[in-house]
Symmetry: C2
Subunit: 198 residues, 2 copies
């Protein structure tokens, strides 16, 4: 890309390394950044470096946080005997947005995937088992409804059951507002299997 000056080419190349940002989007973003007010560019740039350098795993639930312990684990208002296991911090945020879940979380940072070579020791399972030695009533497994998520759910349930702690799995079925004709067969069968009395 030598028809741009090297500074622009560099910026485009760096932006294009981000996930979901192709060559065209990187180019568009680069030109936008060049035209942004200087202080906004500096704010963006600093927030990147500062987030990267100051964010680490919560010592209890392994979510990303800038303190020792995340606000949820530190909160006295949460039910610490109920642990919801999620694959990543975005899934945690999705449940927090509902505003209805009162328990705490455990973030695995991945799911078991023999295909990708991700085994049980590559995700934050050891930390979960350690937490179960304290007073826990229920482990709710909220990994994704994908092959990897289901495999991880099975693996965890096998580990937790012998401890006598209740293990549950979030329901899978037709999404609310979902139009049946556009939903895949596997989901439709799951919804049928999981039907409840009215």
């Amino acid at each position: 890309m030598d028809y741009y000056s090297s500074q622009i080419s560099n910026l485009i190349a760096e932006l294009a390394r981000l996930p979901g940002i192709g060559a065209k989007t990187a180019q568009r973003l680069a030109f936008h950044i060049i035209n942004m007010p200087q202080e906004q560019v500096e704010k963006l740039s600093q927030s990147m470096v500062s987030a990267r350098n100051n964010i680490h795993y919560c010592k209890v639930c392994c979510t990303l946080t800038d303190g020792e312990i995340c606000p949820i684990c530190a909160s006295a208002k949460r039910e610490h005997k109920t642990i919801m296991v999620v694959e990543n911090a975005r899934d945690l945020a999705a449940y927090e947005k509902t505003g209805k879940y009162e328990g705490v979380y455990h973030v695995l940072h991945g799911a078991i995937s023999p295909m990708l070579g991700i085994g049980p020791s590559d995700i934050r399972l050891k930390e979960l088992l350690l937490r179960l030695q304290k007073d826990v009533d229920e482990v709710i497994i909220a990994t994704n409804s994908s092959l990897e998520g289901e495999a991880t759910a099975m693996y965890i349930s096998k580990l937790v059951k012998p401890t006598g702690i209740r293990v549950t799995r979030i329901a899978s079925g037709v999404p609310v507002g979902g139009d049946l004709e556009y939903i895949d067969e596997v989901t439709l069968l799951r919804a049928l299997d999981g039907r409840v009395e009215l």
Copy 2:
């Protein structure tokens, strides 16, 4: 978004200000950045600030560059008597990628748009007229084939014609490889009007 630590929320908010980056994408990018190697984050961050601070308009053609004059305007290999007028630096790059255009450019940084309140004095037209006082053979207008691009083309052609310099407009028609059935009617009619002898 108080279920994230403030550093993450800040980063998400700053990223979401970029064009075409919505809340979900900003979140995905933020988590990616947090997990990126520290030196890569610093490189990205520095390339933003440095591009923003060191890039300005070429004194001749107004494209973005880090020198006084851009590499194209400084090149002795280019035909400086032929000026292609484009709306922005991305359009310049698109023509440079063809590798076939040997003239130089003029970058307007916009197009005339009464709807958006962009008049002739808001784009780099004055700079173009100044260049025409030197030895120029042809002005090729390559603004977009949009309402604004066409209006700008008309405006420029009216300004240039009295000088006696040749003014041309790039052809509009069916894109190469384009399937007629998917092409809009206006383009089809343009292609018909612009038909050439075989």
